[in-house]
């Protein structure tokens, strides 16, 4: 580690920056998916379960087929199915969407542990990264600039969703269902069907985020793979005011916070490893305390959303 000592504490910000890009990707996909779902007027708290379940499926499919991209696709489809289950149950009268989310979170995690038992040992093919740091001779910087393709897809997806929500027919219908179910009904649209599609699309994106966990970073399957990234991403959507582009920036922020613990460990600071590991949760809570208010409805909140009503 000669280079680490010559860089001194610069290792930490570099590792945080690299970590921000690496760790933020699941946050990004889950929050973009949740953003879509919530804009249609429903909240899916089950994405934590979706994340774990699809990480397991993605890893399994990649292991069996040898193709990590097939794993990503399978993970997305898994997410869409779980999203569909959420939407169908919530479509029944008098069923509470928050509670169904909690149930699906527990179910998804349980099912993933059940089916994933044989996948803890074997090594699956993982996703490739593009090397943007080839010019650098400093290994830490080189590592930080290895960027996964999924992150780049997320970078393109965020502004694309902003545009789609704002300017397409599909986006307008979705937002109408989120702002006033009655208005959407009056136009002759089925609110349940709109929300079914939004929740399934959201689940698909969250599933892709899950595949990133098992197929790139950390790049294996175990039962401690996701600990709260899914739920943090749901809270992040509130902070991002239901705007996909803000979801992108806040995901980077959260990724950086999550990378702080390992970065400090790399310079032999081990005190408080677990506390720094919980940094994203502290950050989420702090942000929610600062940005929420009991007196006014939040700017940008879909009017039909149960969580802000």
């Amino acid at each position: 580690m000669a280079d680490a000592s010559s860089l001194g504490f610069w290792v930490v910000p570099i590792a945080v920056l690299g970590g921000a890009v690496r760790v933020s990707t699941p946050f990004l996909f889950v929050s973009l998916g949740e953003c879509l779902t919530e804009r249609s007027g429903r909240i899916n708290l089950g994405l934590e379960g979706t994340l774990v379940m699809s990480a397991m499926v993605g890893y399994g499919v990649s292991y069996l087929s040898g193709s990590p991209w097939l794993g990503v696709l399978a993970a997305g489809i898994t997410g869409a199915i779980l999203g569909g289950v959420h939407a169908v149950i919530c479509g029944l009268q008098r069923v509470n969407d928050i509670a169904v989310g909690i149930a699906l979170m527990l179910f998804g995690i349980g099912l993933a542990f059940y089916l994933g038992k044989p996948l803890i040992q074997p090594k699956a093919n993982i996703l490739p990264a593009i090397d943007f740091g080839w010019w650098s001779t400093i290994p830490q910087l080189h590592d930080a600039l290895k960027i996964n393709v999924l992150f780049l897809i997320g970078v393109v997806l965020a502004p694309a969703l902003v545009w789609a929500l704002k300017s397409t027919r599909w986006g307008l219908i979705l937002r109408t269902a989120g702002e006033s179910a009655d208005a959407a009904r009056a136009m002759g649209y089925s609110v349940n069907r709109i929300r079914l599609r939004a929740t399934m699309t959201g689940g698909f994106l969250a599933g892709v985020g899950g595949s990133f966990l098992s197929l790139y970073y950390p790049g294996n399957w175990n039962e401690g793979l996701s600990s709260g990234q899914g739920i943090t991403a749901v809270a992040l959507v509130i902070f991002a005011r239901w705007n996909p582009m803000l979801c992108f920036w806040t995901s980077l922020l959260f990724g950086g916070a999550a990378a702080l613990g390992p970065a400090l460990q790399s310079v032999q600071i081990t005190w408080g490893y677990h506390l720094f590991g919980a940094a994203p949760y502290f950050l989420t809570l702090a942000i929610m305390i600062i940005t929420c208010s009991p007196k006014r409805t939040l700017v940008g909140a879909p009017a039909e959303l149960s969580i802000t009503k």
Binding site: L45, V85, I89, L92, Q93, R94, V95, N96, D97, I98, A99, V100, I102, A103, L104, L106, F107, G108, I109, G110, L111, F113, Y114, K117, S227, G228, I231, T232, V234, A235, I238, W271, G272, Y273, H274, L275, G277, A278, Y281, F282, T284, L285, M288, I289, C292, S293, P294, K295, S306, I307, T308, K309
Partner: protein, 363 residues
Amino acid sequence: MTFAIETKAIGGRLVGDRFGAAAELVALPVLAVVVALIVFGGFVALFGVNPLDLYGYMYRGAFGTFFSWQNTLTRAAPLILTALCTALPAQLGMVVIGGEGALVMGGLCATAAGLAVLGAPPLIVQLVMAIAGMLAGGLWIAFAGALRHYRGVNETISTLLLNYIAIAILNHLVEGAMRDPASLNKPSSYSIGDQNMIGLIPWLGVHWGILFGVIAAVLAYLLVFHTTFGLGARISGGNLRAAKVVGLPVGKLVLAMCFLGGACAGLAGMVEIAAVQERANANMAAGYGYTGILVAFLARQNPLACIPVAILLGGIGASGGLLQRRLGLPDASVLVLQGIIFIAVLASDTFYGRFKIFQTNSA
């Protein structure tokens, strides 16, 4: 919140048609559990396990022998208490899922307090531990209640985040300040000592924690349904505007209910330490907090109903070992079944008032 409205509708129907509605309140969750068991049977059949074997072993592992009853009741004790952590704030229409965090904080603070007064007589040590555990758990959830009331922070998300934070604090302390250097493989705190453990109920062989749970549930039931305080909470849960019109102190109700719920979960943490674990370590976060949420929903947030439901789910948990040994099912099969039950019971909400058989009196 739709949740609150739905409770109110059921409460309203109770007045006109008490028997039918009460029968419905019992019948629909039972039906949901039966449907969930059938679905789970189909699920394990996919893996070549005979569903009838499954049900047989589940019954034997949960309620079939004296020893399985002991195991079941030992698991039910913390479940009753963590269920109250969800059921009490639910009277105000809140969805609190922080039982796991409150249990961990309660157990951690109970251990710290117990270690601080280690020389005292065992009864004093246990009392100090119980008070410390309840205070810690209560304040932990009351914090989420305060955030909800004063800052409008959604309590479901905040309590879930607090679960992860509590586990991080636990790991931080048992690997640092509170660590017993002798605990090599699994970092743990110092032991509270054999003499300070709360023992077993003599002829039953189950620790006294189950009695704590039953007493807490009965007290919670009396509080919710037979005091003005409880009525005020239920009015606020049903209709916030009405509560404000009649001058109910909604903020105080929120804080008090959250504190009491959290205190119950904190007591569960204390019981886990003082009756089972003897020392604080990562074993504390065993998922009782999450199963407690399911208990509360299956009990329809009724504190008294939490007792039999906790025994049922404790039984399912207790049968896990037997399913693993005899049928080769992974230990996560209990989690899958719990998830299916949870989904089924929530979906059954839609059928309230739809079955004619329960409305014979009013028709």
